[in-house]
């Protein structure tokens, strides 16, 4: 039977098992929207900005592991979604974005709302397609989903000119895909895996440095097995959180710029680093020349370009984390002998000493202003049993959430790591909520970041996505202010948000609920109240403004040289006793 391009689009999405798409219409995609409007199999969630649609697709993909889908129009619709594509590219998130394009006959003519979608998205997609003929549409969509979700996942763009959505063709959805230039390697070299097992058996101070690849690969179980069998401590990157249980005695927490003292010391003094699906980002390596000076490095990664990009690797293993770990565990089970706990005791004694020397800490005066870490830790404790999905924006609140929210399960953590995109948290949480209607989805937002996508509050209300957004309101671009404290003599150039909205009223203006928590004593009750509301809620929490996030490795510093607290000469008002500041009345320090 002959179908229009728009109908082929719909049928193809159904074949891919897509239940929800995030979308915003425009002239060249009206035919597709018209078809979507007349069916019930694929839900269309209307967003108020294309960046929102892109991030919702990202949130859905991170939470489910299946590609998230967005549909947007040509020209400005396309330019608006670029940020989400770039974010997904950096963090290896499988999304498929469909963009409308001017009719094929007009391409290249500076037609109304024309943009070079392929050129714009080329550097921030894993691949992109311009569909010039409706007869190619179904096969192209099949390839797009295949490329997005296999190998190292990533975003794919499919650009559909208006006439292609209206032309007719026979619909035939391919069963399989074969692309001669693309065949990811899943099985690691047996020989290398054997070498890795030997190195592990010999190591005295090994450390597992675990990244997002473990989550993408679904290798949490195998990782746990490996760690428990060998008693090797586990460091997680920001992107790996949830990939190994944060509460597990073998977990040292996050490593890197704002990682724990013990996690970074363990790397620095290790004699064997086992990197699993991690890409040696500069926020982790610090100064490369002083990175893990005593260690041999094993690196398991599905993408050969990740290996030896930044640091030297002794045993490279190209392959999928899960398959490689299964293989590695099998060898180790047969060869590891002696009581691993006894064997590792000297190393663990040292690690425990580091842990007690400098644990994560903050102080909360019961009469003082709410500390951001306290609020985050209470949200964590009060929702621990509910296995929530947690998203964040970008800034200090993101790092504190990473430090204090000890996630137990993979795919419960949505954060923007590589691009570090403010405004990510709320729409990403909505995307996850759309995929899991009955789960608790939390967003820990920054007051600065949240303002970059507040328009989606109304989308959440309409689509009934009961996300709970905690705004860690320090009236600052806090992370920027922290750098200004440390490296710019406390000159707060454009980091102070002296005029900011009343977030409770803002929520209400959009039809959502608003709650404000102002006193330490009210924190638990306020959180409970927000959780009990059936619908999207914004919880505004004015917090102590000048809290800084530690430990911190200054950019370009070495991993064992961490700042553990404010330098003694840093001037700032004390959080103690002072009433929490009211809007517009904050005092600001000048250096």
């Amino acid at each position: 039977m002959q179908l229009t391009g728009a109908e082929i689009f719909l049928e193809s999405l159904k074949r891919e098992g897509v239940k929800t798409i995030f979308a915003l219409p425009g002239g060249v995609v009206l035919k597709i929207f018209d078809v979507l409007h007349q069916q019930k199999d694929v839900e269309v969630i209307l967003t108020r900005h294309e960046q929102g649609a892109g991030f919702m697709a990202v949130g859905s993909a991170k939470a489910t592991g299946k590609p998230g889908v967005a549909l947007i129009t040509s020209g400005p619709g396309m330019t608006n979604v670029i940020t989400a594509l770039a974010d997904a590219y950096m963090d290896s998130v499988p999304i498929v974005v469909f963009s409308g394009q001017v009719p094929t006959a007009l391409i290249g003519n500076d037609a109304f709302q024309e943009a070079d979608n392929i050129g714009l998205s080329r550097p921030c997609t894993k691949y992109n397609f311009l569909v010039k003929d409706v007869n190619d549409l179904a096969a192209t969509i099949k390839e797009a989903f295949y490329i997005a979700s296999t190998g190292r996942p990533g975003p794919v763009l499919v650009d559909i000119p208006k006439d292609v959505s209206m032309d007719k063709a026979e619909f035939k959805y391919p069963d399989s895909v074969s692309i001669r230039g693309y065949s990811p390697t899943y099985d690691g070299s047996k020989w290398k895996i054997k070498q890795a097992a030997e190195a592990i058996a010999k190591a005295k101070r090994p450390i597992l440095y675990v990244g997002g690849g473990v989550v993408f690969s679904g290798a949490s179980k195998e990782l746990l097995e490996l760690a428990e069998m060998t008693q090797i401590p586990v460091d997680m990157t920001l992107m790996a959180l949830g990939g190994f249980p944060g509460n597990h005695p073998l977990s040292l927490g996050m490593l890197g710029m704002h990682g724990t003292y013990v996690a970074n010391m363990a790397m620095h003094y290790s004699d064997l680093v086992i990197a699993v699906g991690a890409r040696f980002d500069d926020r982790v390596t610090g100064k490369v020349s002083e990175f893990c000076p005593q260690a041999k490095v094993i690196h398991i990664d599905i993408d050969p370009t990740s290996i030896r990009k930044n640091v030297h690797v002794d045993i490279p293993i190209v392959g999928d984390c899960k398959r490689v770990l299964v293989e590695l565990n099998t060898i180790l089970q047969a060869t590891v002998n002696g009581n691993q706990r006894d064997l590792r005791k000297p190393w663990w004694d040292q690690l425990h000493a580091w842990q007690t020397e400098h644990p994560l800490q903050y102080d909360q005066d019961p009469e003082g202003q709410i500390k951001p870490q306290y609020l985050i830790e209470r949200v964590y404790k009060l929702t621990e049993g509910l296995d929530p999905i947690v998203s964040t924006d970008v800034g200090q609140h993101q790092m504190w959430t990473a430090q204090f929210f000890k996630l137990a399960n993979p795919r419960t953590w949505l954060t923007s790591g590589g691009l570090g995109t403010m405004g990510f948290g709320f729409p990403a949480a909505m995307g996850a909520q759309a995929a899991y209607r009955n789960r608790l989805v939390l967003c820990i937002a920054g007051d600065g970041s949240f303002q970059m996508n507040t328009q989606e509050l109304v989308s959440a209300v309409v689509a009934k996505l009961p996300v709970k957004v905690f705004v860690i309101n320090n009236r600052f671009h806090g992370m920027v202010r922290q750098w200004q404290d440390l490296f710019y003599d406390g000159r707060y150039a454009s980091s102070y948000l002296d005029q900011y909205p009343d977030f409770v009223k803002l929520a209400e203006a959009y039809g959502a609920a608003g709650v404000r928590i102002e006193k330490v004593g009210d924190v638990d009750a306020g959180i409970q109240e927000a959780l009990s509301i059936d619908g999207p809620v914004v919880i505004d929490v004015p917090v102590y403004q000048y809290e800084n996030c530690y430990p911190m490795i200054p950019a370009g510093g070495s991993n064992h040289e961490m700042l553990l607290g404010d330098p003694p000469d840093l001037k700032k008002p004390s959080p103690t006793g002072k009433k929490s500041s009211q809007q517009g009345q904050d005092t600001i320090l000048t250096a």
Binding site: G119, R122, P123, Y127, I179, R180, G181, T305
Partner: protein
């Protein structure tokens, strides 16, 4: 160090810009790039001349391999290879210089492919030193225009080369 990379790539819309964009986006050097279709019209061969430390070259090769349109990548300068470049040189010729220009062309086995009362256009093919040498000799006469194709290269038998080994070409042969 200089490396010559030979790659086969899907001959379709946008694939050249994927490769060119990779080099500019990641700050890799590109000395020359030449591309043309093969016997199989769906595949193009590209020869890229680049320089960099070993670590960078390793990244370049891996990144090129990662481009989905790229079918095969070979660093042919790793083993024995032949390379050629063609240049078209339009040289200014006063009447008294015309014989000299022809003599130089002759020495380099170059051809005069066009001529006007005041110029010859000379076509020369060879490796880079040869082309550089003829340019140097013609320069005193006055070079009005110069175009070079960029280098193309091929591994010598029995070196495995992309064109000889890649599956799709084998189908054509």
């Amino acid at each position: 160090m200089e490396h010559i990379i030979s790659l086969s790539i899907e001959n379709k819309f946008g694939s050249l810009s994927r490769v060119a964009g990779l080099f500019s986006g990641r700050g890799f050097n590109i000395e020359s790039l030449s591309v043309a279709p093969t016997l199989d019209p769906s595949i193009s061969m590209m020869t890229i001349v680049t320089t960099g430390e070993e670590r960078i070259i390793e990244q370049i090769l891996k990144q090129l391999n990662k481009v989905i349109d790229v079918i095969k990548v070979v660093d042919i300068s790793e083993s024995e290879y032949v390379e050629r470049e063609t240049a078209l040189i339009k040289v200014h010729t006063r009447p008294e210089d015309r014989a000299e220009a022809l003599r130089i062309a002759d020495i380099f086995r170059a051809n005069v492919v066009d001529s006007s009362p005041t110029s010859y256009t000379i076509e020369v093919t060879g490796d880079v030193p040869k082309i550089q040498a003829i340019i140097n000799l013609l320069q005193p006469l006055g070079i009005k225009e110069l175009v070079r194709t960029g280098r193309v290269a091929m591994g010598r038998e029995p070196t495995r080369t992309a064109s000889a080994q890649s599956r799709p070409l084998a189908k054509v042969n």
